[in-house]
Amino acid sequence: MNIFLLFGMGLFSLVFLCLYRAVFGPGVLNRIAAISAIGTKTLVILLLMGFIYNRVEMFVDISMVYALLNFIGTITAAKYLEMKGEL
């Protein structure tokens, strides 16, 4: 069995733990942190998919964009909450 597939499935199961925190988590800060963690796991899974399909150079580009948009999304959500005065 491919070790990359094994690690990818492990990370995929961990996504659901974060999803629980994102759905039921008390407070909005927990939700933002959970969604950010899901994004980080997703980009690692994308890289592992690149190793499985032997086309890492393509998946590196995709995962880099994913990391970038995840970062901007987290900052935007935090800024929105700051402006609304809910923190």
Partner: protein, 157 residues
């Protein structure tokens, strides 16, 4: 209205990160026919870098770098580049956006002319998408009302 954030970590990180984001966006645009990406995706990344600047440095500072007028002009310039290359192909006696017709104009073989033509199209699309992305975010975040208009309109926000 979005004001400058008083957190020095976010300001510093974004100031360091924005040039790299923009270089990466240019890479996605220029390298779009060999790897995932292209004009639209690169334009979105380029627009995201300006949106990050607006969020972290506030509306007043961001307007000096990229105002709504500049974004509108850039988006129309991108469309002009796109349709201009297409019309140039039409003038050279080919179909619209048939870049093979540019080979006599650029003095290269038709295959190379096609590669250069699609590159020009992608640059145009990237500039247009960047302008529209920034314009949409700018309009939503200000509600379409700029701070200098507030006295004229008598809006209390």
């Amino acid at each position: 209205m979005i004001s400058i954030t008083d957190d020095i970590i976010i300001r510093t990180v974004s100031r360091v990160l924005i040039p790299f984001i923009q270089v990466y966006a240019l890479y996605v645009i220029m390298h779009g026919h060999h790897s995932p990406g292209g004009g639209f995706q690169g334009g979105v990344i380029l627009g995201a870098s300006f949106i990050l600047y607006l969020i972290t440095h506030g509306l007043e500072e961001a307007k000096e770098r990229m105002s709504e007028l500049k974004a509108g002009l850039l988006s129309t310039f991108g469309i002009l580049l796109y349709s201009g290359i297409g019309l140039l192909c039409l003038i050279m006696g080919r179909n619209y956006l048939d870049y093979g017709g540019l080979s006599t104009l650029l003095k290269v073989i038709p295959a190379q002319a096609r590669s250069l033509g699609i590159l020009g199209i992608e640059i145009g699309v990237g500039i247009a998408v960047m302008g529209v992305m920034f314009s949409v975010f700018f309009d939503i975040s200000t509600g379409g009302i700029l701070p200098e208009d507030e006295e004229d309109l008598g809006v209390n926000r």
